[in-house]
């Protein structure tokens, strides 16, 4: 363990891998010093853990109905968070719902930033007509309120979890394109880009090897901060009955179906709502902490 | 009587790798004369200048045995007392007017701001004083400059405005931190001659911080050479060629000279005990 630390902290790395891992290690040390970011990391970590171990952790089957045990309040023995209107254990449904949330969030995080980065860096680097056309397309997507656009897309694609993910991803990429383009414009005239152009590098090599690594921190930070929004949009779609279909325990859907009982049996909607709140908060805190780590200090003097 | 007396000044910064000492025990005194502080980057010269005005914020820390300006103890003065000193009795001119002038205020507004707020002068009086200050730094087109924004001025003009601004309240001590480093060579000469005349006419003390040893030697009466936070040599400017410390000699010799030999330039030998 100590040997690994020494290896990571070596000021003269002997391989590319060691150098890169060393930088990641330093970033981790810096993140560790930020208590809010660490709590965000813990929350996100818990989400991952719960999602991974959902079948083991859930005390009951989330889909099995038991109409004799409907609408039991929290802290009833056997149902820590109570039961919903079909007698299903809410705790189990929240735990299993974590998987669905993670699935949605993960897929969006893997697709939308890539599309945004590609569009933004190409537009920023080449300028001229390419820039104008790509940015107008981006503007069109940005002009619609996100939920409305997602709704429209789901209406076209049909309900279902994959379509919900696709719809959300298609609404999420424009901000990344904007961020990537802004960074690219800053970087485009710098000396190191001029140097590699002078070496005879083509546009693809410059964009992928030089511009994208510089834009990546901003995009990563933006992604973590957007995660909260993605969860909420998925919840919104679920709430409206589009996207995920019952009886899947998606958190937004759970809030929606508990609507009728909001005043008397408040726990049916509130528990999944709290789950969304906690996870969104976790991603936000983590995103803030990542910004401190990735941006100012690792930037050159 | 000495205008400024500093004893054992230390400036420390807390970084993630532990404390870093930017200034390690600097002591000097200054009368109504010109003192040059010379050093390379990392020598602590800028930090020394900032510390004199207590302009160092956490994570930086100033520790000093004694820092006395004209009889007043600066080391333990309250922030309110420091504010009364800064600008009014001790002024500072910095390197790049692009960064030290407010970009969204006209020059006239910046020049008169201090006069109107601090000295409570009326608009006409303040403007007259500002115009006089600009004329003192040999700006001819005064009306245009008063109405201009900093980015509309050339580097040399901006620096002259900066000097004018700093000299309006008639301070006793001027700290100039690399005032001509961002300027072209011919403009440097002009700005320095203006500074020279103003300092001489008003009998001010001047601390001139620079990395350019020869420039400082021509312009100042005494020179302090700093390296890694310490003063390695203190001597009269006229005696600079006879400097004895290896670092000073190294600095003098490593610069190329017009008409000088074309062989390799002598480097700096950093193995001496003084380099630690």
């Amino acid at each position: 363990m100590v040997a690994l630390r020494v290896w990571l902290a070596d000021p003269n790395p002997t391989s590319r891998r060691q150098a890169r891992l060393g930088q990641v290690w330093l970033g981790w040390l810096r993140l560790r010093r930020n208590p809010l970011a660490m709590s965000g990391l813990v929350i996100v970590g818990l989400l991952l853990l719960v999602a991974a171990l959902a079948p083991v952790l859930a005390p009951h089957d989330p889909l099995v109905q038991d109409l004799s045990r409907r609408l039991l309040p929290p802290l009833t023995p056997g149902n820590l968070l109570g039961t919903d209107d079909f007698g299903r254990d809410i705790l189990s449904r929240v735990i299993t719902g974590a998987r669905i949330t993670l699935y949605i969030v993960g897929l969006v995080a893997l697709t939308a930033p890539f599309l945004g980065l590609l569009v933004g860096t190409v537009a920023g680097y080449f300028g001229g007509w390419t820039d104008a056309v790509l940015m107008r397309v981006t503007d069109i997507f940005l002009a619609f309120p996100r939920l409305i656009l997602a709704l429209a897309l789901v209406a076209v694609l049909g309900p279902g979890i994959e379509n919900a993910v696709l719809a959300i991803a298609l609404t999420a990429w424009p901000p990344y394109a904007r961020v990537a383009r802004a960074e690219t414009l800053t970087v485009r005239n710098s000396d190191y880009i001029a140097a590699v152009r002078l070496q005879g590098a083509g546009g693809a090599r410059i964009i992928l090897g030089h511009v994208v690594p510089t834009c990546l921190p901003s995009v990563i930070i933006r992604v973590t901060l957007d995660m909260a929004g993605v969860i909420l949009i998925a919840a919104g779609l679920g709430f409206l009955g589009l996207g995920v279909r019952p009886p899947l325990p998606e958190w937004g859907l759970m809030i929606s179906s508990g609507r009728k009982y909001l005043f008397e049996q408040w726990w049916v909607s509130t528990m999944p709502g709290l789950a969304i709140f906690v996870v969104s908060l976790g991603f936000n805190l983590l995103g803030d902490g990542l910004r401190d780590v990735l941006d100012p200090k690792s930037a050159p003097k | 009587m000495s205008l400024l007396r500093v004893k054992n000044l230390r400036v420390t910064f807390e970084t993630e790798n532990g404390p870093v000492q930017a200034v390690r025990g600097v002591s000097f005194s200054l009368g109504r004369e010109r003192l040059g502080i010379v050093g390379e980057s990392g020598s602590g010269k800028t930090m020394t200048g900032r510390a004199l005005l207590r302009l160092i914020r956490p994570p930086g820390r100033i520790e000093v045995d004694a820092m006395v300006f004209d009889g007043q103890d600066v080391a333990t003065a309250s922030e309110r007392q420091m504010r009364a000193l800064r600008g009014r009795r001790i002024a500072m001119v910095m390197q790049d007017p692009k960064f030290s002038l407010n970009p969204v205020m006209t020059v006239g507004a910046q020049l008169t701001e201090g006069l109107r707020q601090r000295d409570r002068l009326g608009r006409a009086d303040a403007r007259a004083r500002a115009v006089a200050a600009l004329q003192a730094v040999q700006i001819r087109d005064v009306d245009r400059v008063m109405a201009a924004f900093p980015h509309e001025l050339s580097g040399g003009m901006g620096q002259r405005v900066m000097i004018a601004m700093m000299l309006i309240p008639e301070p006793d001590l001027l700290i100039a931190d690399e005032p001509t480093s961002a300027l072209d060579v011919t403009v440097q000469a002009e700005v320095l001659s203006i500074l020279d005349r103003l300092v001489r006419d008003r009998g001010m003390g001047l601390i001139f911080i620079s990395h350019d040893l020869r420039l400082v030697a021509r312009f100042c009466d005494r020179v302090l050479v700093m390296y890694k936070g310490r003063i390695v040599e203190e001597l009269a400017a006229a005696d600079l060629m006879a400097a004895r410390h290896p670092y000073t000699r190294g600095l003098l010799n490593c610069l190329p000279r017009i008409g000088g030999p074309r062989g390799p330039l002598p480097g700096l030998d950093r193995t001496g005990a003084w380099a630690q």
Binding site: N12, S190, G200, P300 | V187, D196, A238, I258, G267
Partner: protein, 258 residues
């Protein structure tokens, strides 16, 4: 026949409806293995000429020829193997997220040159950097060390011509001496042709055989080194530049220059 031949070069920048004539009708020739200096103050257009040679500035008139042939636009790979540039700011000319190894091996990868491992090690040796620096990042190096990496990078493709844009103006005096010595040594060892830009006449005098003084985008006067050292310039501007920057330690005592 001169190696670099610039005839009546003009460079005009157009942005936001304003035109800036950075270079107007400048002509010069550089012989093979010569060290040619461009000196002037800010706005003189000296750096712009270097960028125009590299194809990084919009040429609006005149011609640039290297080895007698016109330069293709875009410059292309063959150009990269004959002309390279060292930039002014060592903090900005290396990619902050690439290791030194990556920065040095990239030109080899672009041109499909094998044996990059040995070449990178040799390049580090040539510029006097320890091999243990190979996988460091730029922010772990000092300014002088970064500039050495920039020089090593420029020499990876073994060009015959090296363009130097104020290579030492961002460095401390003692570090400048080391870097200038390195450049002089490399020039002799590899028979390079230098075109060096600086605002510092002393540096130009030390490094260059001939000098072109520029002002406001125009060529003012061309001087041989001996004429510069002997203060035999004929134009007023060249003389004012000389007076302002001549070694201030020699001659009269106190008082500001000029």
């Amino acid at each position: 026949m001169s190696l670099i031949d610039i005839a009546a070069l003009s460079v005009t920048f157009r942005a936001n409806g304003r035109t800036v004539r950075a270079v107007e009708g400048v002509s010069l020739c550089v012989q093979a293995k010569e060290s040619y200096g461009l000196v002037g103050e800010s706005g003189s257009g000296k750096s712009t000429i270097l960028r125009a040679i590299c194809g990084l500035a919009p040429v609006s008139g005149g011609a640039i020829r290297i080895g007698g042939t016109d330069l293709p636009t875009p410059r292309g790979r063959a150009f990269a193997r004959s002309v390279q540039m060292v930039f002014q700011d060592p903090y900005a000319s290396l990619h902050p997220r690439h290791t030194i190894d990556r920065t040095l091996s990239e030109p080899l990868a672009i041109h499909g040159i094998a044996d990059s491992d040995a070449r990178v090690s040799r390049a580090l040796d040539d510029v006097g950097l320890p091999r243990s620096f190979r996988f460091r990042y730029p922010h772990q190096l000092s300014g002088g060390q970064r500039q050495r990496v920039a020089i090593a990078r420029a020499l990876m493709l073994e060009p015959g011509i090296l363009l130097l844009d104020e290579p030492t103006s961002a460095l401390d005096a003692s570090v400048q001496a080391e870097v200038l010595n390195l450049l002089s040594r490399l020039r002799v060892e590899r028979g390079l042709t230098f075109v060096m830009v600086s605002h510092d006449l002393a540096v130009i005098d030390h490094m260059c055989d001939r000098v072109l003084v520029m002002q406001h985008g125009r060529a003012v006067e061309e001087l041989a080194r001996d004429d510069l050292a002997g203060a035999r310039m004929t134009t007023v501007y060249a003389r004012s530049l000389f007076d302002a920057s001549a070694d201030r330690m020699l001659g009269d005592g106190k008082g500001p220059p000029g």
